[in-house]
């Protein structure tokens, strides 16, 4: 391979035009999870972020270190400030989901989310981390170019016509690479552990009372089955971090990932985390498959105003329209 070939590959991967439907659908799924995650902050909100919070602002600042992006350090750490930042965040994630001033909404959602996270880092799990880092990258994407109020407005005002133009997917690629890195990193961490290599990890995890949710009768009673599940889950994570890029395998790996997260969601109490990860899988769906899925969805709705009117209509509706 020549240097020129690498350059061409790089340019094709990051800057070759791609349809925007995929990143737009991802924006909606990810936005919904952001809304749910924000709502989950409400119980105990004062305990986490209020002026008499469990973790005082000064202690949090000592822990995180100086110079962090944190609106609390500029606006003060009163109860009102906390509710203002929270309400702004909620409004921004709703705006992002609907595609209303998409990029501005993403910036506001990111700054407020980071502020809340820096205010109290002791209550965060990996799902929160995923939301934060992906939201940052989403700012730079063309996620508002389709299935959004922004697009709908442009069409109504006659400023746009036809299907959304394909765009350079570099931000989308960064999101995809970030997701793969999450899976690869967690698989690498697990490979270092004895419980994972011996196959005992699911045994230990299933005996943690705090994480119990619904009963898993056969599986949790058989050491062999738990060993199998330990290794299979690690293999799926490894695949999602690496060979998910192989076109022929992508769909089956994504479905395996979906089933993995749904089964953990059933068995374990880790609120929102599995839904965060499921929403991230949407970003890995191939553009062609995403276009097929969105066209299929179009056929399910009689009229879906946010869908571009010039996308191919299903056969039944073409007849009606004629």
């Amino acid at each position: 391979m020549k240097l020129k070939d690498i350059r061409t590959l790089w340019n094709h991967f990051f800057f070759g035009k791609e349809p925007v439907e995929g990143i737009a659908v991802f924006r909606i799924c990810f936005g919904l999870v952001l809304i749910v995650s924000a709502l989950f902050l409400l119980p105990g909100f004062s305990d986490w972020f209020g002026s008499h919070a469990i973790v005082q602002a000064s202690t949090a600042a000592t822990f995180t270190g100086p110079g962090r992006l944190n609106l609390f350090s500029w606006l003060g750490d009163s109860e009102n400030t906390a509710y203002f930042i929270y309400a702004t965040h909620l409004a921004a994630v709703v705006g992002l989901t609907l595609g209303f001033f998409t990029q501005t909404s993403a910036v506001v959602a990111f700054v407020t989310l980071v502020s809340l996270h820096h205010r109290n880092p002791l209550i965060l799990n990996s799902g929160d981390t995923a939301l934060r880092v992906i939201l940052f990258l989403l700012i730079f994407s063309r996620a508002g170019d389709a299935f959004s109020l922004d697009r709908w407005r442009e069409l109504r005002r006659g400023r746009a016509s036809g299907p959304p133009a394909p765009q350079m997917p570099w931000a989308q690629r960064l999101i995809q690479l970030q997701i793969c890195l999450m899976y690869l990193a967690t698989a690498c961490f697990k490979l270092q552990g004895e419980a994972w290599s011996q196959g005992d990890a699911v045994y230990y995890s299933s005996r943690l009372w705090d994480f119990e949710r619904f009963p898993v009768p056969f599986l949790y009673d058989s050491l062999w089955a738990m060993q199998g599940v330990t290794w299979v889950s690690m293999a799926i994570e490894l695949a999602l971090g690496t060979v998910v890029w192989v076109k022929e395998w992508r769909a089956s790996i994504l479905i395996s990932g979906l089933l993995l997260h749904l089964s953990i969601e059933y068995a374990m109490n880790i609120p929102v985390f599995q839904w965060v990860m499921i929403s991230l899988l949407v970003a890995l769906v191939a553009p062609k498959d995403m276009r097929y899925l969105t066209t299929k969805m179009q056929s399910l709705w009689e009229r879906w105003p946010l869908v571009d009117p010039l996308l191919p209509l299903p056969a039944g509706r073409r007849k009606k329209a004629a």
Binding site: K17, F110, V114, T186, C188, F189, L223, P271
Partner: protein, 202 residues
Amino acid sequence: MRMKILPDSSADNQSFDRIETFDWRRLSLNLFVIFHLSVLFVCGMPGTFPLKEKAAQFLRPYALRMGLWQSWDMFAPEPLTLNAYLEAEVEFSDGSTRIWTFPRVSEMGVIDKMINERYRKWAVDNIRLDKHSLFWADTARYVARKTNTVPGNPPQKVFLWRYWHPIEAPQRKYVPAGYRARAGQFQKYKFFSYRVTAEDVR
């Protein structure tokens, strides 16, 4: 600010030609992509080697300040092998004592468990550990405020206790699913004492 490099156009080739004329933009985009790929790798991947450590000196401060810090060691390298909870023993000015239990999600139903998960994260995953001793005084003050319910009898001292029960290795002693240890089977340790001031409970 929209990172709009190309005009909306269905003519791909024409757009691709146009970008060639904006080399400085292309360069800055490439630098942005390379920079953030480096941040992802340095901050997200496990393992250390000299080049990564060197790069981390430059990249980690940026990631920390911007909120791009990340770690993906969920249930890894080893899952937790014990069940734990925290209690606070509160001594009041009249000499009486009271036990204040941190919210225990293991004792809750499915919905309450979901709602209170962040209390578990705060107490069991963080406050319990010595590496988070910075937060122990704040925690004791919080407990003092919570228990300051009788006028004229404020809390004087708060002691934080950790309780834990190890999960035996399956090869040594197989623990059946759903097994619960009794209260007396937990090991316990008083890990922090705090003298409450009038300011704390105001």
